[in-house]
Symmetry: C2
Subunit: 559 residues, 2 copies
């Protein structure tokens, strides 16, 4: 048996085509592509605007069971399915998120798929790529600089500096920046105040860029950002500080979707990457919409498991942008289902059909949940070499009893050849006309009621609790006109509950909303349950220590 | 008379050629160019390495008298001279610095030349360009994160956190970040300590990138960075924290020169932009060297006036990289010379030959100074419409009495057609064999003696003073093996003295060295005189308030 190649070895052996050829296959003229090197390009705003009257392709969401340390392979399956659809003769486009730079130097590997289902050039995608996140960092910090500058020069808006909620961002894992006191050193440096930094992907601007339909909409949303409150408690908007237009200038290129390719030379948009807890965790609306105009099938993914990712994809991204999903794929692995059934990671190599059946309750609930949005479902079993035939049969069996197919996929090892069956099934579902998409709750319900609906219908919680301060805040926002916004749940991704150790399909648990935040520009209210880390730290031995440029100019140690 | 067009109107009307055509004129094959859009590209490392055995072209430095609010037009003249040389049939390449993003949102206009002597695309060059500065920001802050992380996980290197000299950077004018206390908020966020942010162009990494000969040399220099001191006072290097290699990975693309074009479609490298006070203020060595291999003439500039810019170009950049300048152009304007002669800005429109003669002493000293490096000189009079014939004659006269030609240049209004005479003269000087370049002082002199030589020979100071602490520090570095480094003077750019209001050619003044800093990776010791601001603030009404994207997608208000 041949040695298994690493992701990076496979990626480096890829025979990439010039990105203009990838664009040409989608009918994008070379003038509409701004190349970044020969294998990455941005698609121009004018060209995207010119597509408005075209018919949309079918939209396929790839989501997953709750993540476990065993790994599920959602991005890998998204990429594989895109390749599979192209293999069976469909014009399919992949839409995924851009990875964050900072975590690459911590513990995280790359985020461009794996095995024979990857997007390339993976080193670039994982590092600076086309500079989108740097642009977001700059726009975010320009606004902060303008806030402190406004206060410094007399504070004409009467901003209560204790109530400034807008922080700074950096695309780096740096725990030392979580909480700082700035403007020290005397009069020339301003008025000292407490603040801090989040990682760039946690910036509201990331969410805004991913939900904006075009540059005009981007500018409007940037103006809508609430940066804090005046002494009279009225909100201060970014447009009050005249920062919105210059921020738009900084983001004009970042707003355009990035085109790259899979290992099999199929087109992939990799654009935007908001957090999936305090934000909605999906790639940009502009990329998804452009892809729908250019392809017959668009395969996209949502962050974390379906309880967070799919719910936000449907209730935030699709609701607000009018996207109509035609089918959903829920990715599961035998190993992850066994962990959901109580097997420890070190025992995953041993067949355990019983544990797998127990853990499948997690899959079952995600299937039922996705169907609540009116979207037909198929399960993808992402194959691992240790899977036994009985285990695979048990998953298929379980899914069948829930009325859906579970299809074994070998795209990791075989590329598109290993995922044809899933591709065929997805086409069948998407073309069946079964999809009758509807969000989970109505816009006009009170904000707390929206939280309760998500908690009961999706999480199967028994109760939602919160302090009076939280409820008062939600009411205040309703009075200020934010009551129609959807809710963005910040919850652990590891469980349906707020307890990360509770795998499977817990029932009747309590969801405590600790804090709520307004993302007025992005257009959602964040409900925070448990501790949410928006600035990661580095581990004892950060992967940065092992990353280097080899003598051939290739990056080593990044994955 | 037709209305005078603004820089941005002229730039937008430019008929740009595809950057691959610009590259082809220099013999750069399309595979060796990584395009960023259709009008910007990076030149590949392998191609640059392949040029090593070629003969070098002639190197022309453009420098200037001490800057005044009247404006001198050094970059404009650099670009104009490049165009002029091409016009008279020479294969000339321009090498200038990249502008910093942050100051664009404060008061500063763009930095890509002006009138009919500009490099384009000017909006891109002034904003994110090819992401070089973002990469430097990321590399710098990765190192800082690794320092605090090292301390957090047990501080095996025994770093004295009070003696960490490495700060953070951001490419933004943000006075609130000059001095901060970080790692607040409890155990999980580390050990609180005072620190602060500089603007990215002030990062030592910027200077390193601009002095490194290739990626290997870059990595070695990054490892040499001293981030602070242990409790036993020994220096801690970036390589002690194993940060150097990952930083190199972040900088691998930033290290490659950026190719753009002038309004007249001539090639220009715009690469690197270190501060001209705490660093050496020149574009990258790798760009200058590549240009010398590709062109017969390379026109480059140095920051500020010749007392700082030219001195550092010669004593740091040329000394350390082996570049041999063949001629120097000193840019002056009638208006600026009149200001040096005591005329107020509001009176500059009135002819005043007497004041101009007085102020020409500033020009005269710069001429004499540049000649001390063995480089032949010509003066460029950058024409303003208010200049009178008598004033121009007076400058020519003054220069002639100092044995050099002063040539009237109308490139701002006329492009290359207005600067042919200067181009011819530069060719004559460069081909004359007159240049016998030598640095001002020998490597092996004590550091304080180097400072004294610069102060006496270039500034005409009477004395250099400093506290014992400064002298002890210089001695300590000499003992640690840093005695051979050149000195980088941080002094006001507005005067030969350390008093910015002292125009003309002051004599016998005192230069007080307030502080010294070691840039061990860049390879120089910084001597700070007066207050040096390494993090600017925004003005009361920042230009950000006026910057916007117009309906045609063009940036307005940036210039």
């Amino acid at each position: 048996m041949a040695a298994v190649k690493s992701d990076i070895e496979i990626a480096r052996a890829a025979r990439k085509k010039p990105v203009v050829e990838i664009g040409a296959r989608l009918g994008i003229p070379v003038e509409a592509l701004a190349p970044y090197g020969h294998d990455k390009a941005k698609v121009g705003a004018d060209f995207i605007a010119s597509l408005a009257d075209r018919k949309d392709g079918k939209l396929i969401l790839v989501t997953a069971i709750n993540p476990t340390p065993a790994g599920e392979g959602k991005t890998t399956t998204t990429v594989g399915l895109g390749d599979g659809l192209n293999r069976i003769g469909k014009k399919a486009v992949i839409c995924i998120r851009e990875p964050s730079l900072g975590p690459c130097f911590g513990v995280k590997g790359g985020a461009a798929g794996g095995g024979y289902a990857q997007v390339v050039p993976m080193e670039d995608i994982n590092l600076h790529f086309t500079g989108d996140f740097h642009a977001i960092t700059a726009a975010h910090n320009l606004l902060t600089a303008m806030i402190d500058n406004h206060v410094y020069w007399g504070n004409a808006e009467n901003i209560d500096t204790r109530r400034i909620t807008w922080r700074r961002v950096m695309d780096m894992n740096d725990r030392a920046l979580r909480q700082v006191v700035a403007s020290l050193g005397g009069v020339a440096n301003g008025f000292p105040r407490e603040s801090g930094f989040d990682i760039t992907v946690a910036s509201e601007i990331m969410a805004i860029l991913c939900l904006a339909s075009d540059l005009k909409d981007l500018e409007r949303r940037l103006g809508d950002i609430v940066i804090g409150y005046r002494f009279d408690r009225t909100p201060v908007f970014a447009r009050d500080l005249k920062a919105d237009k210059a921020m738009t200038v900084l983001l004009k290129d970042a707003m355009q979707p990035n085109l790259v390719q899979t290992l099999e030379n199929n087109p992939a948009f990799v654009h935007g990457g908001p957090f999936a807890n305090i934000a909605h965790g999906c790639n940009s609306v502009i990329a998804t919409r452009a892809a729908l105009k250019l392809g017959d099938y668009v395969v996209t993914e949502a962050g974390f498991g379906a309880d967070l990712g799919a719910e936000k994809f449907f209730d935030i991204k699709c609701r607000k942008s009018g996207l109509l999903p035609n089918a959903a794929v829920i990715v599961a692995t035998v190993r992850a289902l066994k962990m959901n059934g109580g097997v420890r990671k070190e025992d995953l190599g041993v067949e355990d059909v019983e544990a797998l059946r127990r853990g499948s309750a997690n899959l079952g609930r995600h299937i039922a949940n996705v169907r609540k949005f009116g979207v037909p479902v198929v399960v993808a079993i992402n194959h691992f070499i240790s899977d036994t035939e009985d285990e695979i049969a048990a998953v298929k069996d379980y899914a069948a009893r829930h009325g859906v197919d579970a299809i074994l996929c070998r795209h990791w090892a075989e590329g598109s050849a290993g995922i044809e069956e899933l591709a065929e099934k997805v086409v069948e579902l998407a073309e069946s006309g079964q999809a009758k998409f509807q969000p989970l709750y109505l816009d006009q319900l009170p904000l707390m009621e929206k939280i309760e609906i998500i908690a009961s219908k999706i999480y199967h919680a028994g109760e939602v609790t919160s302090d009076k301060g939280v409820r008062d805040q939600l009411k205040a926002w309703e009075e200020q006109g934010y009551g129609d916004l959807p809710v963005c749940m910040a919850k652990t991704q590891y469980s349906f509950s707020t307890d990360p150790s509770l795998r499977g399909a817990p029932e009747g648990h309590i969801v405590h909303v600790r804090e709520v935040r307004l993302s007025a520009g992005a257009g959602f209210v964040v409900a925070i349950t448990g501790e949410i880390m928006t600035m990661p730290g580095l581990p004892r031995v950060p992967s940065a220590e092992r990353i280097f440029l080899n003598d051939d100019g290739f990056v080593e140690g990044l994955f």
